[in-house]
């Protein structure tokens, strides 16, 4: 199979994830878009791994999965905290740090 099949699929998912991060206002949905981006990177890593015929990309992909799990845990804890204090998780309401 062409390696470009997988790489272009990764690029499509990455772009959709970036669109979601920009266009979404709800914090949980922004976190979901970030998961899309991380998944596309994993597909790319495994495709590059198969170009070389080694297993290093699979190791990186496993580490990224672990990091993503940690990120979602902390991210959702922060979202819960914001919801408890502000009664909303709309990201454009959190503008105190705007200059």
């Amino acid at each position: 199979m062409l390696v470009n099949n997988f790489l272009i699929l990764g690029a499509v998912l990455f772009s959709i994830g970036v669109y979601g991060v920009i266009a979404r206002k709800n914090a949980v949905l922004v976190l979901m878009s970030i998961e899309l981006i991380l998944n596309s990177v994993n597909i790319n890593l495994l495709a590059f791994d198969r170009i070389n015929g080694t297993q290093d990309g699979a190791v990186f992909a496993l580490y990224i999965i672990a990091i993503a799990a940690a990120e979602v845990g902390v991210g959702l804890a922060m979202v819960l905290l914001i919801f408890r204090n502000r009664k909303t998780i709309a990201l454009d309401d959190l503008s105190e740090m705007k200059g």
Binding site: M1, L9, A11, I16, A23, G53, Y63, L80, F83
Partner: protein, 174 residues
């Protein structure tokens, strides 16, 4: 000469079917006006990704993807949706005003640049299905993790510990 075994018809049909499901699911994740539907579309994308890992003969990563993402992360997301009392039906207030007008050009430009570079760079390279290491073997993978990549593995366990403690501290009520 192009041999029939080089075209790999079955793998290609499987790839394109799964890829179509993944792309449609991803679009639904970023466009849906229902938070729960977006979360369930994300399950489709992640399951499709696991299937693509199998096509890339990375069996251990595929199983881990199903366990960690579909098993754990999605439950976490659904809890997040529930605890922030999102509306369970249609909710029009999920998108930024004018977000689509900015996001669509940025995403299209990004995709254009990446697709151009990838097609230029990897013209018709093929994935290797035979190499000096046993392809996709979990034994080789674990040898790598616990020898060459042992230090990052340790660092990762500290990151996970810190994340767990941090999440408890942040979300605790008092």
């Amino acid at each position: 000469m192009l041999l029939a075994s080089d075209i790999e018809v079955a793998q290609n049909i499987g790839f394109y079917l799964i890829a179509a499901v993944m792309v449609l699911g991803a679009i639904n994740v970023v466009r849906s006006s229902n938070v729960v539907h977006a979360a369930l579309s994300l399950v489709a994308v992640m399951g499709g990704a696991a299937a693509q890992y199998l096509l890339l003969s990375a069996e251990f990563v595929a199983v881990t993807q199903v366990l960690v993402y579909i098993g754990a992360v999605m439950v976490l997301f659904l809890f997040g949706v529930m605890l922030t009392r999102a509306k369970l039906g249609k909710d029009i207030d999920l998108n930024n005003k004018g977000g689509a007008a900015i996001g669509a050009p940025v995403a299209l430009l990004l995709f254009g640049v990446m697709a151009y570079v990838l097609i230029k760079g990897f013209e018709d390279d093929r994935i290797v299905t035979s190499g000096d290491e046993a392809i996709g073997s979990t034994a080789t993978l674990s040898d790598k993790i616990f020898s060459l990549y042992a230090l990052p593995f340790w660092a990762l366990s500290f990151v996970l510990l810190a994340a767990v403690i941090g999440a408890i501290v942040l979300a605790r009520k008092d």
